[in-house]
Subunit: 356 residues, 2 copies
């Protein structure tokens, strides 16, 4: 089987590019297996080269497969990239990402070459997970479920948001998570109306919504889950909001299939929430791809042009957020298969399970 570097090289040629420069750490890891970061340079003729700072050189030399490894200093970076690109008959060079300053520096050195930002080339590979990646993501999802179990066990009237994060993070790490997928979100009471409200030392009180959005990292792969708990007995309004978000989550889940567009799946959740009268309070896209990064392709959102493929792993996370009152979000990490979608995260989400 062709290596990932071989497949990327073919895609680069197919797109009419003469070379491709990989600047982003997760892309370097995906292609070489090295956590060193660096700049991976693919040309038509030469062996790929990974330029790495001195700090991470030993790591790259031990870990990087399928490429040569050379050290660079910040001062030499532009010179070395130009040298590795080889000059000659280059017309178009693609980059997974390029900063304004590097664009200016390289343009100055290669005035006749078109420098093109082309993240979609490597992105189109990364969004289709292979069997090995799916195994790692399943384990990362199990670890996230373990974290949610710990939260279910610990939330009581009077516990602080940061104490909830402590218990969940501890449970996940003890079972094998090597990192958190992203910083915890634990938002309680009126703060639950902030989709991205971080964690504070606020005491959680009876009668409040508590939304926890978090994930485990396992061997570089991430997962993403959100549950909203209710401390004590929910009010009628809380029940209505919760059940609306749950209906949207379950309805959208059924749409997550190969060949369906990200915009269609989002529209389905939007329809369910709109019909319940909460349309103005669903203020973000339904989901995003997850893998080596917690936000990657494909996108499930109003303006998404992505079409779902087998092997995509995406979040399904409808929410309702009422300023000054509170909010609910229910999110799973979902695998697109040849038939029904599979929720990798399996923590229960019916209302009864969320009462603590």
């Amino acid at each position: 089987m062709d290596s990932r570097i071989d497949r990327l090289s073919q895609l680069v040629r197919d797109k009419g590019l003469d070379a491709y420069v990989v600047m982003r750490d997760p892309n370097v890891f995906y292609l070489t297996g090295s956590i060193s970061g660096g700049r991976l340079i693919l040309t038509r003729n030469e062996e790929p080269t990974l330029l790495v700072g001195r700090l991470n050189l030993a790591c790259a030399q031990d870990q990087a497969k399928g490429c040569g490894v050379k050290p660079y200093t910040r001062k030499e970076q532009i010179d070395l990239i130009v040298t590795e690109l080889g000059g000659g008959d280059l017309e178009i060079i693609g980059f997974d990402e390029i900063s304004l300053s590097m664009y200016n520096d390289l343009s100055g050195r290669m005035p006749d070459v078109e420098l093109r930002t082309a993240p979609e080339i490597i992105g189109s590979m990364r969004r289709v997970k292979d069997a090995g990646e799916i195994d790692l993501m399943k384990r990362a999802a199990e670890l996230a479920d373990i974290g949610m179990d710990a939260i279910n066990d610990c939330i009581v009237d009077g516990i602080r948001e940061n104490e909830v994060a402590a218990e969940a993070a501890y449970a996940m790490r003890r079972e094998g998570a090597d990192s958190l997928a992203f910083p915890f979100i634990v938002v309680s009471g009126p703060r639950s109306a902030y989709p991205h409200g971080g964690v504070t030392d606020r005491k959680i009180k009876r009668g409040e919504f508590v939304t926890i959005d978090m994930g485990a990292g396992y061997k570089e792969y991430k997962t993403d889950i959100t549950r909203t708990f209710i401390v004590g007995s929910p009010t009628e309004r809380q029940v209505e909001i919760y059940e609306t978000v749950l209906s949207a989550n379950l309805s959208a889940l059924r749409k997550i299939r190969k060949g369906v567009s990200g915009a269609e799946v989002h529209a389905d959740a939007e329809r369910v929430i709109g019909e319940a009268g909460y349309g103005e309070y669903f203020i973000h896209g339904l989901g995003h791809g997850v893998g080596l990064e917690v936000h990657e392709g494909p996108s499930l959102g109003k303006t998404s042009e992505d079409i779902l493929e087998v092997g995509n792993v995406v979040t399904n996370e409808p929410g309702i957020y009422i300023p000054g009152y509170g909010g609910v979000r229910i999110e799973d990490t979902v695998l697109v298969t040849t038939s029904d979608p599979v929720c990798l995260t399996e923590t229960p989400k019916d209302l009864d399970a969320m009462r603590v």
Copy 2:
């Protein structure tokens, strides 16, 4: 006292800029107190405006001080920034950061205006911490010390790297950390030669170096500490390496004073390590500023042009890394004062304290 926004506006005028656009979340927080992110636009005449995506609008409306708050969608972003900038007689607009695509979009809309990346304007403010910031960083440093205590208590022959991270993170969060300053580094045995080696499930063995680099986040402020432990009795070579790094740390610490350049402090550590015969194995800069971000100004490194000022908070982190063998790094977070420097992190670092 002038607000931070007022002081920034004055600096922007002093630098001859007509407007300044703040794109980065920590800068928005520093200026407005809001964790919402967004684009903060300062002009000569109008009240500052914070443009915020719908997702974080309620958060910004509740938290942002000293500016108006308006929503934007990604599609409208460029239009709204141009509108808020106001046109008229703009000649130069500064940005704390600007992507290539936004640069191209804005240049197209304002072809006669110079768009200039000027992160140093806000950076010069952020690197001098005020009394309130120093109090928060002291607390963040105490929390990091609590994490190191937990590590000291848990490391034994046979424990896994991720289990060590679990105990330290748990201890810090239970005592009030609301986040980790950055993902843990726990590198043991030959992996301790990787300065940035992450965390794995590797079992730590008797006789090995174990380097832990981590920090606590407290109310948005970060801290940064590294210690290298030795499981059991150190060999002669381990003692020599450890004592060399410790000497470099203590010697450089004495140099951390107002008016001294970052390059001088780095050179001092480099001299100590070089004289011991390990010069080729000290492969990174001595330190960096810490505050709302774990890497900010000023820099302590070979090519740094920064001059230390009272109120700077910097790391002091010499290290020796021998590929295939292992490494040692000793790091504290240090406050520059009117007299002697103060280590905010206070975990012991003499060799005896590191034997577990």
